[in-house]
Amino acid sequence: MAWTVLGVVLDAISYGMVLFIISIGLSIMMGLMRVVNLAHGAFAMIGGYLASYALKSLGVSYPLAIILAVIGAILISIPFEFLLYRRIYRKSDELTQILLTIGITFVIIGVANYALGPTSKSIPLPAALSGPFDLGFRMIPAHRLFVIACGLCTALLLWLLIDRTEFGVRMRAAVDNGDMAEALGIRTQLIFTAAFALAIGLAAFGGVVGAELLPIEPFYALRYMVTFLVVVSVGGAGSIAGALSASMLLGLADTTGKYLAPEYGEFFFYLAVILAVFLFPNGLLGRKH
């Protein structure tokens, strides 16, 4: 019995970590740039497609494929940033943002469906990460341990970047008071562009490492968007620790629910969401606006 509980908790942590890696980019966008980027899932999907292509057609190694996917997704996002997103940072109302970004999502889904077909694309894992890993008391997919490690590293590095570096200081200044930051000589436009690239890169990274749990296909872009948005709103936009704790909480609710009563579907997931939002209207660790 105790082993079963531990097994379910492990499943919950790895599922939560996938949610965290993909959602943290969205959290940065929403918390720092105040952009409700509904195309976030589309960029995660682009990352997944690029990795699949790099592994299957170019024959590169798995780590290199991840790097190519992240860089590729950022490159693809540059025209979008330059032509579209730049207009809506911190300025326009939510409706404009939602219409613009959902439009981008539909375009990306259409292109992916037309060019790459409706079937799911696999991201082959290297031998070291595929197959079961024996923990002594149970087998767990080796890939899940890798995902957990990736999630922890991402959280740590992001925290260092935003809390401990010069860039982080400037970024927080630009967010808290853009005009004052500019008056002090901080080039906020540049900061925002960099933060946008960071968010897209994280989305692509999450899309690739999470592909085992959230398979890459054209409707990925919309299918999981609600889940990502929920993680951000439960955690509190812009907070790393918030997104991490929200991912863990929701991962646990979802996984335990699936174990105990699979026929209830997403009931436990959304029950946890309702309770969390009711008790913490600004998110678990969000700031009051």
Binding site: Y15, P118, S120, S122, G131, P141, T255, P262
Partner: protein
């Protein structure tokens, strides 16, 4: 204005003199998933029908046959009904065909009697569909048809305790009921029955539950699509395969386009199904060659294309029997009991249920010439729809 009336007048006069038997056009409306996540199967319908037309010509006697395609990208009963109405009223089709999803087929059924239009279902696999109208014929399969042999295989392979895991919707529930009834009648025991929501992508907790149940075999059904891959991977990576728990499914889990994605880890998975692209017969070889000629990719040919190919045969027979006239009772009478050799093997239309009777094969995923395929191991001959048959 005058010219317009002139044309109309000419048309009326022409219509008065023309006899219907000469060079008229018989229209067939095909509702399929032409776009969206299930577009592959809509393409399969189209290519299957085109393969039949390429082989047998676009004419039945003196009647030109024209297929009109309409897109229904997801289960959407209201839209399917509207599409069918438009086809019947505006395009004046004599036959309706296609229908990938059960709810869509159910929604169209009530229109048929009033419009006197027969419907040829080319996929939707819930048993009850054919009972909704006397004008429905089905050339695909049903869950009961594929699952009853699966339960017999499970018992013959020595499984004592089976855990059932199915997608939580109509066909899944059919599969669960069929397996449970047959396996328990054989003397086996069902230790767990899990209904998984259609949106499930993380199967870790499901595998944990199956492991805790102490089952020695899993029987599963999920509709062909992205989650099937996740299920197979979770089964392997959570150590169930290594732990000696066997996996048996309907063929939906291992459709041909999904096999390359499942990869070598899928070798040895057993399934029961009515069609494998690897079926070894001259009819199937000719069919596959014709499919490629009309533009289908060899790896994308599935059960939906063979159902469409056979469906087109049934429609041609109906047109021939009615001589192009709108007479659904005569059309149906002509195809009841109809027998032929399909690319999937010998088949017939059951005169009682109007559902196709066919062989069900036990298959194993095998690598042949560097390519994964479903190799047939055992044949269950002339299986009716066990969900409808009164046996």
């Amino acid at each position: 204005m005058t010219t317009k009336f002139g044309f109309a007048g000419a048309a009326v006069i022409a219509a008065l003199f023309a006899t219907p038997a000469h060079s008229d056009v018989i229209k067939v409306g095909v509702i399929g998933t032409m776009s969206g996540p299930y577009a592959l199967f809509g393409q399969n319908f189209k290519h299957g029908i085109e393969a039949w037309v390429a082989e047998h010509g676009a004419k039945v006697g003196d009647h030109q046959v024209e297929f009109i395609y309409r897109d229904e990208e997801s289960p959407n009963p209201a839209k399917s009904k509207a599409l069918a109405q438009e086809l019947i009223v505006k395009d004046k089709v004599q036959y309706i065909a296609g229908l990938y999803f059960t709810p869509d087929a159910m929604a169209v059924a009530p229109l048929l009697s009033e419009a006197k239009v027969p419907m040829i279902v080319m996929n939707a696999a819930t048993s009850a569909i054919v009972e909704k109208s006397p004008y429905i014929v089905r050339t695909s399969f049903t869950m009961w048809q594929n699952t009853v042999p699966a339960a017999k295989v499970a018992f013959a392979k020595g499984a004592k305790k089976v855990a059932i895991a199915v997608s939580d919707y109509g066909p899944g529930i059919d599969a669960e009921a069929a397996f449970k009834k047959t396996f328990e009648a054989e003397g086996g025991k069902i230790v767990e029955a899990i209904r998984m929501p259609l949106s499930t992508t993380d199967f870790g907790p499901i595998m944990q539950r199956i492991k805790d149940s102490g089952a020695d075999m899993i029987f599963t059904f999920l509709p062909a699509g992205p989650p099937t891959l996740g299920f197979v991977k979770a089964y392997i990576d959570n150590g169930l395969k290594a732990g000696g728990v066997k996996l048996l499914s309907t063929g939906d889990l291992v459709t041909e386009p999904d096999l390359p994605n499942i990869g070598d880890s899928g070798i040895g998975i057993l399934s029961t199904y009515h069609y494998s692209a690897a079926h070894n017969s001259p009819e199937n070889k000719a069919f596959l060659a014709e499919m490629v000629k009309v533009g289908a990719k060899p790896d994308d040919i599935t059960m939906a294309s063979v159902a469409a190919y056979d469906g087109a045969r049934v429609i041609y027979k109906m047109i021939e029997a009615t001589n192009g006239q709108k007479d659904p009772d005569k059309a149906l009478a002509a195809v009841k009991g109809m027998k032929w050799v399909s690319p999937r093997g010998p088949v017939s239309i059951d005169p009682e249920t109007r559902h196709i009777t066919q062989n069900i094969y036990l298959r194993e995923v095998e690598k042949k010439d560097g390519k994964l395929q479903n190799t047939e191991l055992q044949t269950f001959e002339a299986q009716p729809d066990w969900g409808l048959a009164k046996h």
